[in-house]
Symmetry: C2
């Protein structure tokens, strides 16, 4: 947290504890809504409503609500009237209002929609109809479109006449033809630097990059990032312009998707940052651990099958964790690289096989390195006995084989899931660790059987 936010947080905490509402009000008057929204995360839940009440005006309240983490919403709206909440929704962009309504219980959402003016309600209801994770779900309906036959001067006049609150971050003017089809885009800068009489058709870029309402939000973010756009226009099936996704929402998508991917790979989700409930978190994290548990069980059954061998040479047990650990970790490394590469477009299916080859090579080289190291160690540790060389070969080759196999599994699994259109981030973790554990035990005891006998 920046020192500035830290200071705001600490001052608020101190003043709220003392119940010094006057000073809190003055502090909030100078604070930015985005900062207040962040600070809310760290304030005691019992102070949330109070802080919200003490914000200078409804404008600020609406802006703070738009920036707020959704799970804090219930604290803030508790005890407020429908009229009050509807008033706040009206002050927001249509997309922000829809996002908030989507979080509310059905009954309250319906009451609020009834309380909005028909055209506002319709706009918001349209947005609520799209899948949350698509262009339609994150777009704003407040864009600025003009007939392509307008001149630069007419366009500037239209901008001046428009209600400022109704246009979200208008840095582009979209040109539409008589059918409402998106035919061009003009930057505000182009409007300003060209002679007033120039028609839009002459200064607009007609090869417009756009998204469809059902384009995945990640793809929209990639488009904005790749072509350095400040907004991505969104068209419906009939190529009518229906909204824009602005760069601030693109940034949110990129951050959220990255966080989601990281958490998914560890079998967790956003619940992890939504308060301190143990039970809620246990529920989201237990399934992934159950996969680990089943894998561990399979491993124990397998080891049980080699019990005679273990009884003959109990020293073998000591190396189980290192054989499994090295395989598991190189498998996780490889899987992480592939999952992230697929998510960012650095790895594609076409070149997947090259990565697969490379990773297997890396696994083998690392296996030689750490296998040799462990073989050396085992000579030092258990040397002198009659089976020194055999034990060294067993542990060394087991590490080599299990690390190579782990790299193979770790790189093949995400590619396979990607081809099957299963999100590699979700499925990869448990599959790789479990497979690698079982392979590791098999390899280890079979190698031991080959060199030391006892099967």
């Amino acid at each position: 947290m920046s020192p500035r936010l830290q200071l705001l947080l600490e001052s608020l905490q101190k003043l709220l504890r003392r119940g010094a509402h006057g000073p809190v009000r003055r502090l909030l008057h100078k604070a930015r809504p985005a900062d207040v929204a962040v600070v809310m995360r760290f304030l005691d839940a019992r102070h949330h409503g109070r802080v919200f009440d003490l914000l200078p005006d409804d404008e600020t309240r609406a802006e703070t609500l738009s920036e707020l983490d959704p799970h804090l919403l219930p604290d803030l709206i508790e005890g407020r009237t429908v009229a009050e909440l509807a008033g706040l929704l009206k002050l927001m962009g249509g997309d922000d209002a829809a996002d908030i309504l989507a979080e509310l219980p059905d009954a309250l959402r319906q009451e609020l929609l009834d309380a909005l003016k028909p055209h506002e309600a319709e706009e918001v209801e349209d947005l609520l109809g799209y899948d949350e994770e698509t262009a339609g779900g994150i777009m704003s309906p407040d864009f600025f479109a003009l007939p392509e036959v307008y001149t630069a001067e007419q366009a500037i006049k239209a901008l001046q006449a428009a209600d400022e609150d109704d246009i979200e971050m208008a840095y582009y003017v979209y040109a539409i033809n008589e059918h409402g089809h998106l035919v061009g885009v003009v930057s505000l800068r182009a409007l300003v630097i060209h002679p007033p009489k120039t028609p839009l058709t002459e200064i607009m870029v007609s090869d417009v990059i756009s998204a469809k309402v059902d384009t995945d939000q990640e793809e929209v973010a990639r488009i904005a990032a790749r072509y350095n756009l400040l907004a991505v226009p969104v068209v419906d099936a009939g190529n009518h312009l229906v909204g824009i996704v602005t760069i601030d929402d693109v940034i949110d998508v990129i951050r959220e998707e990255a966080t989601e991917d990281i958490l998914k790979m560890a079998g967790a989700d956003e619940t992890a940052f939504e308060g301190y409930s143990v039970v809620k978190n246990v529920r989201t994290r237990a399934p992934w651990l159950f996969a680990t548990w089943l894998g561990g069980l399979a491993a124990s059954v397998l080891i049980g099958a080699f019990e005679a061998q273990l009884e003959a040479r109990v020293a073998l047990a000591a190396f189980i964790p290192i054989v499994l650990g090295m395989g598991g970790n190189v498998g996780t490394q490889t899987a992480t690289i592939m999952v992230r590469g697929l998510a960012t477009g650095r790895v594609s299916r076409d070149i997947g096989s090259r990565y697969f080859m490379r990773e297997t090579g890396i696994g083998a080289m690392l296996g030689i390195l750490y296998g040799a190291l462990l073989a050396g160690y085992s000579v030092v540790r258990y040397g002198g006995g009659g089976e020194t060389v055999q034990l060294a070969l067993t542990v060394g080759l087991s590490i080599l084989t299990s690390m190579t196999a782990a790299a193979t599994v770790g790189s093949a699994t995400p590619l396979l899931f990607d081809r099957l259109n299963i999100d590699p981030a979700v499925a990869t973790g448990p599959v790789v660790t479990t497979t690698v554990d079982i392979l590791g035990i098999l390899v280890y005891f079979l190698t031991a059987a080959a060199f030391l006998g006892g099967l």
Copy 2:
């Protein structure tokens, strides 16, 4: 990869293999530079120079270079003259030119700087002086600043007169006073919608959010994202405006930092996406695995110390992987959540202790769940013998204790590293897995000793 990029890639590959340069040229003429830069990643290295040559003009070449993954640079500049390269650098924004120069060998960089005009070279050299990961390192020197005494009309005239190539994404006009201090910011939209005679001082926002040249790039990205800015102005120690960080660079920072964090937690880095060299990747990944190796070795020494116990009851060996695996995975889950939470500001030091408590609680609950399951299994598997209850208690309590301890270690370690100003993403992985392995073995064999004797 989007279908459009996929098509471009496949067509290029086919045509290049046939040596059909005419069609390649026509294809490249219609392609966007950003797309060509992405496609380069997936083309054979031997085709890179050819594709670059066949781009329509130097403008396009310069733009493609700016968007290119840095590790592909050597393929493209090989065999080109200093004059040719300097010509391309002149066509880029100062920040892009500096980024490319930073990647080149010292001798070539110096030759290129000598070939640029003195003022261009000076601008670029200034940028090269800043740490790559700071606001100074990513800012563009091509911003648009005007005296605060100008009117809206004068500002628009100045914009019209400016060389378009010299202003990077000018959506804000910065107002400076007679000392060159940044005193306000005016959006292009404000210029357009206010009467021409309005002075900038009346329409500008004077509480400007800015970064310092040495502000960390992650913090700059957070500022832009939090306040929905299209550009963050950068000031030097004397509050003089020296550059701007534009939103496209902010997006790059957010994506890179997320990728970096994910890879770091698995002990890898960006090398993973820079070609297919096994040796280079082994070098970056070996150290992290060495920590695992040492941990595994410590585990084997520990198990060796309990050899007598294992000899008496070889069935104990079968549960080693599951005890370590469950601890390891819950530790990784917890650590991942904490590391990502700290990186995104969702977890701060202030509330760290609440997360620590929660995670320990989650570990304990999950431990009870999976401990009971395993105890149940062990009764089914090994039941009937005289020590059924003791074995069940041993495995059940070991899982409970090791999962609780793992959650504690997994949440405390990132918080501790954060306090010590060590990047939690780097250090957490090996420390947590190693500690958890060792704790797991200790807990397991000590519990076994308590219930089953044999120490």
